[in-house]
Amino acid sequence: MTALPADIWQPVRLTVELAAITTVLLLILGTPIAWWLARSRARWKEAVATLVAMPLVLPPTVLGFYLLLLLGPSGPGGALASLWGARTLAFTFEGLVIGSVVYSIPFVVQPIRNAFVAMGERPMEVAATLRASPRRAFWTVAVPLARPGFLTGAVLGFAHTVGEFGVVLMIGGNIPGETKVLSVAIYDFVETSQWYEASILAAGMVVFAFVVILAMMLIEKRVSRAGA
């Protein structure tokens, strides 16, 4: 077997980095949103839920287009970038992180919200009657009970970020080491007829997808057993 060409690894490393950062950010941002969506009785709750779910339906190019406006020199992203002397957030790794967070948010929020809903009100009521403050009850009861939801959300968020293409193309371009992630790299290799490199990356993604889905099914099986 011939050695793997070096330029395969750069997009892989970049993709894993992007997906990991995005997943962590989404867990931090998505948990309070999921909690609020699961517990609030506000009438406009479903409007927020719809906003969160929009990336499921919107074509990535549409999402990418608006993100480009937001991150570009004349949008808020440009203003933010000027704080450290840059002109724009578009076509940067940071911009890609922001885009991925928006793109993958439903995949993280939805499972966590479902887990909080499935838990019901009772465990939190029990904790309150045992003198636990809402904060303590959340960390010691709600989060552990919703753990399968967090796992599912993290796995889906990570996997979905790894696979994104359209949004990356719109706001990231194709800068090696900065925004050239896996899916774009495969596209590139095919464009330049580097079939060997393309097939290695593609096969790797197939294996990755298999492992992800298998992991999800195992998590779900464990959950239904614990609930019995």
Binding site: R122, A127, T129, L130, R131, T140, L145, A226
Partner: protein, 367 residues
């Protein structure tokens, strides 16, 4: 109704409750077990949840001098010194029995109160010693409910609220848990509000009773006062009975007969051994009491007691329910007697008349 007097539990709540309005208020002593009794759906659980602060209706709630709710005041549930036992045990599935038990135990800084309930005492009281290291998933329904009770006790509550803690259990499991509840009642001075729609639980456990119907309180007071009040529905039911405590005076091992002193007389009952000074819960069904104008000369009935008729009421076309007080001289413990209207008229009984109560059956509950 006064706001926040010591040694009293005051609750008054108003609000919509499904198809009817809830407007209930009562005030009971903050000692012993208070039964909150009524048919399903009459608002008992809602009242209990309001006392715990889990639900908010307009009203007032004050326990032993502390105001928990009044107008703008509303203490959140985690700041109320309560223990709450739900109908389902609701143990935390991700924690072992030990960590469930200790979840609400006071942590760190504050020194333990002198009357604090100790961990080992709870294990002993509820028979949990062999279960501590298990996971909740591996417990039976009855074991889970005992852990839930222990968990509530170890949060060192000043008031224990129990919402039909036995109703999700089968008959056998109920009988397994009731003695534990009776032991709690004997050994701890903790006031308890106990919601149930099962009169037999009230008869075994309660000292005071709050009777509810369709969102309102129709009576509140000492258990036997409500059981013996002809104006309330309890005395009119087929299962009408009086439940009260008696002090053990003597035990005759040769016959296996216990002598118990109650207000206005002595009652004999077959029983296992008991020491003088212990208390036993007695239950005397109205249908087990008959009346005579004079003491019968010889009878197999153990208990024939002088009594006086307080009042009478027809229950159905052919039967009477008669309220008695034990003793000829003063007003002692009340009893109910279910007799036929024919006997009532032929023997010429009347309110205030001295009679002899023949008690065919005395059942002892508390062991």
């Amino acid at each position: 109704m006064t706001g926040a007097s010591a040694k009293t539990i005051t609750a008054a709540f108003r609000g919509a409750l499904g198809t009817f309005a809830l407007d209930a208020s009562f005030s009971v002593p903050a000692t012993g077990v208070t039964g909150l009794f009524g048919p399903s759906g009459c608002g008992k659980t809602t009242i209990l949840r309001c006392i715990a602060g889990l639900q908010r209706l307009d009203g007032l709630c004050a326990v032993d001098g502390d105001v928990w709710q009044d107008g703008g005041i509303f203490r959140p549930p985690h700041e109320r010194p309560i223990g709450y036992v739900f109908q389902e045990a609701s143990l935390f599935p991700h924690l072992s029995v030990r960590r469930n038990l200790l979840y609400g135990a006071p942590r760190g800084k504050e020194p333990a109160r002198s009357d604090a309930i100790a961990f080992d005492e709870v294990l002993d009281l509820l028979g949990l010693t062999v279960l501590v290291e298990r996971a909740p998933q591996n417990l039976s329904g009855g074991e889970r409910q005992r852990v839930a009770i222990g968990r509530a006790l170890l949060s060192q509550p000043k008031l224990l609220l129990m919402d039909e803690p036995l109703s999700a259990l089968d008959r056998l499991t109920k009988d397994e848990i009731l003695p534990f509840l009776e032991r709690l009642h004997e050994r701890l001075s903790l006031p308890v509000i106990y919601v149930t729609h099962d009169m037999s639980e009230i008869e075994r456990l309660a000292d005071h009773l709050v009777l509810m119907r369709a969102g309102s309180v129709i009576g509140a007071g000492p258990l036997s006062a409500l059981q013996g009040d002809p104006a309330l529905p309890l005395a009119a039911t087929r299962e009408a009975a009086m439940s009260f405590d008696g002090d053990v005076e003597a035990y005759d091992p040769a016959y296996g007969i216990l002598t118990l002193r109650v207000d206005g007389g002595r009652l004999l009952a077959p029983s296992s051994e008991a020491r003088p000074g212990e208390r036993r819960r007695l239950r005397i069904a109205a249908s087990d009491v008959s009346l005579a104008g004079a003491p019968p000369p010889g009878s197999t009935i153990l208990n024939v007691l002088p009594a006086r008729i307080v009042s009478h009421a027809a229950s159905g076309p052919h039967e009477m329910t008669v309220v008695l007080t034990l003793g000829h001289a003063h007003a002692g413990q009340r009893l109910l007697a279910r007799i036929t209207r024919r006997s009532w008229e032929q023997l010429g009984f009347a309110d205030g008349a001295p009679v002899y109560a023949q008690v065919k059956g005395v059942s002892l509950a508390r062991k």
